[in-house]
């Protein structure tokens, strides 16, 4: 019997897993699931009277799981410490990052401006589309680190806010 703790978005899930016949029995709270690992990253998941075909792959410390209707990304507690720094940075609301590498085509705010949550700050062009970068929270623009026309990556903040 093994125990794990997964984080999925804001949710934390404690699981208990043991061998059962061809596959595994996983208990989460009151629910019991039977899981069989098939080839090529596919799993058959049975819970109650429903069976789902699920795809699952662990890549760079993240568990990618496809349940048919939804896809979720999970991290496991003992892996969490080693997950990339960039991901952690994105959770800090006073630093705003580009969602993907691209080119700054328009800056819509100036230092000192008061902005509201989800207000457009910058437009980054990537994949031939203009993608607005929104304020993650209300605040005051403290610094803008790029100019129109600059190439940006996802590692350094575009805009810093004072919350």
């Amino acid at each position: 019997v093994n125990k794990y703790q997964f984080t999925c978005g804001s949710g934390k899930l404690d699981t208990t897993i043991e061998k059962a016949g061809q596959g595994w029995r996983v208990t989460i709270g009151q629910s019991v699931y039977e899981v069989e690992a098939l080839s090529d990253g596919l799993f058959a998941l049975t819970g109650g009277d429903r069976r789902l075909f699920v795809a699952g792959v662990k890549h760079k410390g993240i568990y990618y799981v496809d349940l048919g209707r939804v896809q979720l990304e999970l991290t496991e507690a003992s892996d969490a410490a080693s997950i990339g720094v960039a991901d952690e940075q994105h959770r800090v609301k006073d630093k705003v990052f580009a969602p993907m590498p691209g080119r700054v085509v328009k800056i819509m705010v100036s230092v000192g401006d008061l902005v509201t949550e989800r207000q457009q700050l910058v437009i980054v062009e990537a994949m031939k589309m203009e993608n607005p970068v929104l304020a993650p929270a209300a605040g005051k623009v403290k610094a803008i680190h790029f100019a129109q026309g600059d190439q940006v990556d996802t590692e350094s903040p575009l805009v810093e806010l004072e919350l």
Binding site: Y4, A126, E130
Partner: protein, 506 residues
């Protein structure tokens, strides 16, 4: 047995459409040549082709948009025909012109018809003369904002700004009142310049809640032109289609016949040859307006193929080789119902923001009447350089209700991990009561899909159950999925494990 139509065809494109065109060539017994950029060294289209030529760095301007390099690749490999796919150079009249000069047959319309129809401003004038109904708007273009303000006032807000060279929603902005006009004009010009190298834009009345109905046409070099019925493409985000179907629930036989006649009229007025698409907007009163003609094979062409049984890319090649449309295309009918869903690398749960990353798992759906046109494989990188379309899923069923159910199941089977997709969004759209009722307008997504429920905790538990198995038994769970290719993929990979002489005694 027909003699081979061409010696060898170069496909001047990438990803799923390049693969699709190569499949048609293979079915005709014609060898193919791929061109690829440095970013596409591991791409599927490069591997499917019999030969491939590296044409430059990732930037489209230095590779897939570089006519000189593409023509030189065609000459170097002995190609006598070139298929442009869609996007990139497909609607640039300089490409058919360059092909002609190089003695290579262009699989598509002539440069002149393409040039006329590619300019939305000129084609509006031409189609008005031909008696095709048009959306009210500016007669020509202008660089003077006052002209735009004047035109907007006379047609009334809301208005839409479009790129003269436009398509695919790029360089397009809806303007609801005068205060937004200047900003929208600037953004549309920037996007148009970037996408098409031309910042000419014009303005027309924005029709609220129309349906987008287009007709597939096919014209040979002997004066024959037919239509292959409609496709309804009203479900769009950012003015880009995401779900298409045929037949449309909005057309009856009489309206279909009238629009079909006008579609053929548009193609003939432009002196068009090969496959093309005439787009109309249809309002709630049943009045339709000519929008534009697309002078290429469309992304959504497979749904027409499913209901008519015609391979449009094969027909493109036959027409380009000079064959007449002939008896095989007489008495076509629409059999059953087909739907297409586009799998883009984008986040359907976050404003369709493009998503980049490595495809860590890829498995396609299966079943009768299920078709996948795909440009990707497990292990591939989805980067920032190109359009984020990865694959298209098409289903064919006897009726619309069954097609919706079948598509829902097929989407659930279609697993792409590593980048985000709009799959869940599409499943919810298809199963929305308004979609099921056939009330599909271009405002569908804004009207019905703006507030959606978040994923339930039940899903998280299911995911955690599977993740637990991956954690407890990493080798067993991923030993055969760990096929993330670190090195160059070669055609030999697809052959699988084999050993000469090993089969004896089995």
């Amino acid at each position: 047995m027909m003699s081979q139509l061409f010696k060898k065809i170069l496909v001047a494109n990438r990803s799923e459409i390049a693969v699709r065109v190569m499949r048609a060539c293979k079915s005709l017994g014609i060898p193919t040549v791929a061109v690829y950029s440095e970013a596409d060294a591991h791409s599927k289209h490069r591997l499917i082709a019999d030969q491939s030529v590296l044409i430059g760095p990732p930037s489209p301007r230095e590779s897939y948009l570089n006519i000189e390099k593409i023509i030189s690749a065609a000459k170097q490999t002995g190609c006598d025909a070139l298929h442009p796919g869609y996007g990139f150079l497909a609607e640039n009249p300089l490409l058919p012109k360059a092909c002609k000069e190089a003695g290579i047959v262009f699989v598509g319309p002539g440069a002149e018809a393409m040039g006329l129809l590619g300019n939305k401003v000129e084609s509006r004038v031409k189609m008005a003369d031909a008696g095709v109904p048009l959306i009210p708007g500016m007669k020509g273009s202008s660089t003077d904002i006052a002209q735009f303000e004047k035109a907007a006032k006379s047609t009334g807000y809301p208005v839409i700004i479009k790129a003269a060279a436009g398509g695919g929603g790029k360089g397009m902005r809806i303007v609801r009142d005068q205060s937004q006009l200047a900003d929208a004009l600037g953004a549309a010009r920037r996007e148009a310049l970037n996408a098409f190298g031309d910042d000419t834009v014009y303005l027309e009345k924005y029709l609220s809640d129309p349906r987008h109905i287009e007709f597939q046409v096919l014209a040979d070099q002997h004066g024959h032109c037919i239509h292959l019925f409609e496709r309804e493409c009203s479900i769009q985000r950012r003015h880009q289609k995401i779900i298409e179907e045929t037949p449309s629930t909005a057309l009856n036989a009489e309206l279909r016949a009238r629009m079909g006649v006008d579609a053929v009229k548009v193609a003939q007025a432009a002196g068009y040859t090969n496959a093309g698409t005439v787009e109309f907007l249809l309002d709630k009163s049943g009045t339709y307006y000519f929008l534009e003609m697309n002078t290429r094979i469309q992304v959504e062409h497979p749904i027409t193929e499913m209901v008519t049984g015609v391979d449009l890319v094969v027909e493109q090649i036959k027409v380009a080789a000079g064959l007449p449309l002939g008896d095989r295309l007489k008495n076509l009918s629409q059999r059953g119902h087909a739907i297409e869903c586009r799998m883009y690398a984008e986040d359907g749960e976050n404003n369709f923001m493009p998503s980049i990353g490595t495809i860590v798992h890829y498995s396609e759906p299966e079943g009768p009447g299920v078709r996948v046109d795909s440009g990707i494989m497990s292990g591939m990188e989805i980067g920032i350089h190109y359009d984020p379309i990865m694959a298209k899923l098409i289903v064919h069923a006897p009726d619309r209700t069954t097609a919706i159910t079948k598509m829902t199941d097929a989407l659930e089977q279609f697993k792409i991990l590593g980048v985000k997709t709009s799959r869940r969004f599409m499943i919810e759209a298809l199963n929305h009561p308004e979609f099921i009722a056939g009330r599909t307008y271009t405002s569908f997504i804004d009207d019905h899909m703006s507030s959606r429920e978040a994923g339930s905790d039940e899903y998280q538990a299911l995911a955690a159950a599977v993740a637990s198995v991956m954690a407890v038994s990493p080798l067993r769970a991923s030993s055969r999925s760990g096929g993330l290719r670190k090195t160059l993929v070669t055609p030999w990979d697809s052959i699988g494990a084999w050993q000469i002489g090993d089969a004896i005694g089995e």
